[in-house]
């Protein structure tokens, strides 16, 4: 029924992009209402489609809904364009469109003073949403890649939104344009990997359709014949994920991307863009789990990213950058959960152990579940920080403080978001974070080969949880508690209704979305895996844990209480340092002179590393290319034209202008011709 119209989900925002792009300035709010209604329609259709799918026969039989038209035929390869709806796609499009809609509503207030540039803003965010929604419902990898790139383009355009005219002057606009370039180029590294991975996949499976690639028997055949190439393809696809989801070592574009408007940051971090990488990992799970070693690598990248990014958030003074690092860190959690779950599943499938597969599926669920929760609380936190910035006119937390009295709604909603991300019991982050940590602990608990690695990753995860609690509350106390500083004295109070309303809606989700896991969200998410492995799951009795079982596991696990205690300690230290001021943070970093402090403030010298690579390697490559361009390519063209001109000069000398010469040539020519003919006659013996 409505399912046949699911292609409208990305198409409506696309239409809004066209309409607000062309006629935005003729409508109120520069096309803002058009963008909002587009997102709203997309959300409504997503809800209807999800309802129909989750209550229908297809879901009951663990089948996806697929609708294809032929797009390209290249040689023997057939590329389709269509939709592929399973529970993962449903979940993704629901939260993407909902959060995007809330962000668009918020943008009405936040971008209110931007005048005619609002048209550009609302057109681009609509296209951004198109990219995300198209990505999640794509029916094959190539189509997915097209939308993936649309998002890359939109992130470039939106991060550089203030590159022409920044309210803070020229430095900020240079900053914005270089941040946009950095985001584009760094994610490009990943995209090149992803594309080469897709080429290998096309070669292996003769198709890029999800229905073909995720077919258990096809995978088994390919794995048996070409396991090395399949591993290479998976690693390359994961390279794309590293770029898009800002994982170590391609993480550095995300903090710089804070140069864009705060709403764009919220969009990138909560609803779109960085979620695409996690989505791709989750979507490609059936081929990812063919190799346990790859999944170990995935988990290591995730775990390292989590603590690496969290450490940089500890001493940052920029309210948006703290949130950016926390996003990278939380993305690391998701990748860690997916990696650990995949490792368990890979080993489980290899040894035919149903227990391990069940644990692996729980890890998968944890990763997706954390992504959903993160979308809500990170959207909330970013919009809250936007509200603060809008009011104070600065992003430096040292200039804020005491804003609680002036901005009650923002302050309280951000407190809820911070509690959630810190993993305070019963808030949404608590559930998913504990599930993630449990998944990371799984391989060690079951004594698998790489158990010690996972034990290490688990410890890193626990430390990250402590750090998260600390830096989030450091941010909250510095912003809202204590005495007022320079900027907060001039702050013009609470933001407008269009900005606070989305905050309230999001805070409800940020607090309560964790309870979804108690009401069967796990079953819904795991359906995506059952599409591929239904028969295997049946034969090995893999049953996803029910909500009560998950809750029991969480509350009977000693690590949960340790994590809670660490989170509370983190909050407590932040309180003592930044609200009560009984501990001077300067004591630990020698007032900003400490070695570690400097390394963190310099972001582990990663920007310098990028620059060195870009300058040393990139510049030399560019010089080589320039040399080839000037000498080989231009040389060929110039040489060719010189040869033509020169030879024409020589040949033109034959035109003497003496009529008798011409006549002589004609006579000689005729004579030669006659001689040839006579010779031919002689040789051939007559006509």
């Amino acid at each position: 029924m409505i399912m046949e119209y699911v292609w409208l989900v990305p198409l409506v925002p696309l239409l809004c992009f066209v309409i607000s792009g062309f006629f935005g300035n003729k409508t109120p709010q520069g096309g803002g209402y058009i963008a909002i209604s587009g997102a709203l329609i997309a959300f409504i259709i997503s809800v209807l489609v999800s309802y129909e799918y989750l209550t229908g026969d297809l879901y009951a039989n663990n089948l996806p809904y697929v609708q294809d038209v032929q797009w390209l035929v290249i040689g023997g390869y057939e590329i389709n364009f269509g939709v592929y709806i399973d529970s993962l796609a449903c979940v993704m499009m629901l939260f993407s469109s909902l959060i995007s809609m809330l962000i668009f509503v918020y943008s009405l207030g936040y971008m209110n003073d931007q005048g005619v540039k609002k048209r550009r803003y609302f057109a681009e965010v609509s296209l951004f949403l198109t990219g995300m929604l198209g990505l999640v419902i794509s029916s094959n990898y190539l189509e997915m890649f097209v939308f993936w790139e649309i998002m890359g383009l939109c992130s470039y355009l939106l991060i550089g939104f203030w590159s022409f005219q920044h309210p803070d002057g020229d430095d900020a606009s240079v900053n914005a344009s270089s941040a946009a370039k950095k985001a584009f180029l760094v994610t490009r590294m990943g995209d090149v990997c992803l594309m080469s991975g897709l080429f290998i996949l096309l070669y292996l499976f003769q198709s890029l359709d999800y229905t073909v690639v995720f077919d258990a028997s096809t995978i088994a055949t390919v794995q048996a014949e070409n396991s090395g190439l399949l591993t290479a393809a998976v690693l390359l696809i994961f390279g794309g994920v590293i770029g898009k989801s800002a994982q170590f070592p391609l993480h550095d574009w995300l903090p710089d991307a804070m140069a864009g408007p705060t709403t764009v940051s919220a969009l990138i971090h909560a609803a779109t863009m960085v979620k695409a990488g996690v989505y791709l990992t989750a979507r490609s799970y059936p081929i990812f789990i063919q190799s346990a070693d790859v999944m170990l690598l995935v988990a290591i990248i995730g775990g390292v990213t989590a603590i690496f990014a969290a450490s940089m958030a500890l001493n940052n003074m920029n309210i948006k950058r703290v949130l950016a690092y926390s996003t990278i860190s939380q993305l690391g959690y998701m990748i860690l959960a997916l990696g650990a779950g995949g490792y368990l599943m890979a080993i489980g499938i290899e040894t035919g152990n149903g227990e391990l597969i069940t644990l692996g599926v729980m890890g998968y669920i944890a990763g997706i579940f954390h992504m959903i929760n993160h979308a809500f609380f990170k959207g909330l936190l970013f919009l809250g920080s936007g509200s603060v910035i809008h009011s104070c006119g600065t992003e430096d937390m040292r200039l804020m403080g005491g804003l609680h009295k002036k901005m009650k709604i923002t302050s309280i909603t951000m407190l809820l978001g911070s509690l959630s991300i810190a993993g305070f019991p019963l808030f949404s982050g608590f559930w998913s974070k504990d599930m993630v940590l449990e998944a990371a602990f799984g391989p060690y608990a079951n004594g698998l080969g790489a158990g010690s690695w996972f034990c290490l990753l688990f410890i890193l995860g626990i430390i990250t949880a402590f750090m998260t609690a600390f830096y989030m509350f450091r941010m909250w106390f510095m912003t809202f508690a204590g005495e007022e500083h320079e900027s907060s004295k001039h702050a013009h109070g609470e933001s407008s209704k269009s900005m606070t309303a989305p905050l309230c809606v999001l805070s409800v989700f940020a607090v309560f979305s964790g309870f979804l896991i108690l009401f069967g969200l796990g079953d819904v998410i795991s359906e995506t895996l059952k599409v591929t492995y239904e028969s295997l799951f049946m034969s090995l009795h893999v049953e996803v844990h029910s909500g009560t079982e998950i809750a029991r596991e969480i509350f009977t696990n000693v690590w949960t209480y340790i994590a809670i205690a660490l989170a509370l300690i983190g909050i407590g230290i932040a309180y003592l340092m930044y609200a009560k001021k009984s501990i001077n943070p300067g004591k630990f970093n020698k007032n900003g002179e400490g070695m570690l402090y400097k390394v963190l403030a310099k972001r582990y010298y990663f920007p310098q590393l990028y620059n060195q690579i870009a300058w040393k390697a990139g510049y030399e490559v560019a010089r080589g290319v320039d040399f080839i361009d000037r000498n080989v390519i231009d040389g060929t063209v110039n040489g060719l034209s010189n040869a033509v001109v020169g030879s024409a000069d020589v040949v033109s000398k034959a035109q003497t202008g003496y009529v008798r010469n011409y006549a002589g040539f004609v006579v000689v020519g005729v004579m030669v011709l006659s001689a040839v003919l006579a010779a031919l006659f002689y040789v051939m013996g007559g006509i």
């Binding site: 035109q655 003497t656 003496y658 009529v659 008798r660 006549a663 002589g664």
Partner: protein, 100 residues
């Protein structure tokens, strides 16, 4: 009957005279006349073959070629006249402005 070779040799001599005159003379009018000579040598060949039993096609051709030659001479002389008006000479070695 006169053997056919007589006519053919005669035509060949005529042709060579015309060719020699065209290649050696500097005077435009002489060159034009030499071309006429070569043309008529060819005409004689046509007529000869026609008369010696190869059908009437040769005669038809000759009538055609005489008509065309008349027109050609008219154009040629008009050109020479106009060149003379401009350059005050008809010497072909002087008329070399159309080269490179």
């Amino acid at each position: 009957m006169i053997p056919i070779e007589f006519f053919l040799v005669f035509a060949a001599i005529l042709f060579v005279i015309g060719l020699y005159g065209m290649l050696t003379s500097k005077k435009s009018l002489v060159i034009l006349m030499c071309i006429e000579l070569m043309l008529n040598a060819a005409n004689i060949n046509f007529i000869t073959f026609s008369a010696y039993g190869m059908g009437t096609m040769g005669e038809v051709f000759v009538i055609m070629s005489i008509a065309v030659a008349a027109a050609e001479v008219a154009v040629g002389i008009a050109l020479v006249l106009n060149v003379y008006k401009v350059k005050k000479t008809t010497d072909v070695d002087e008329l070399t402005s159309m080269r490179w």
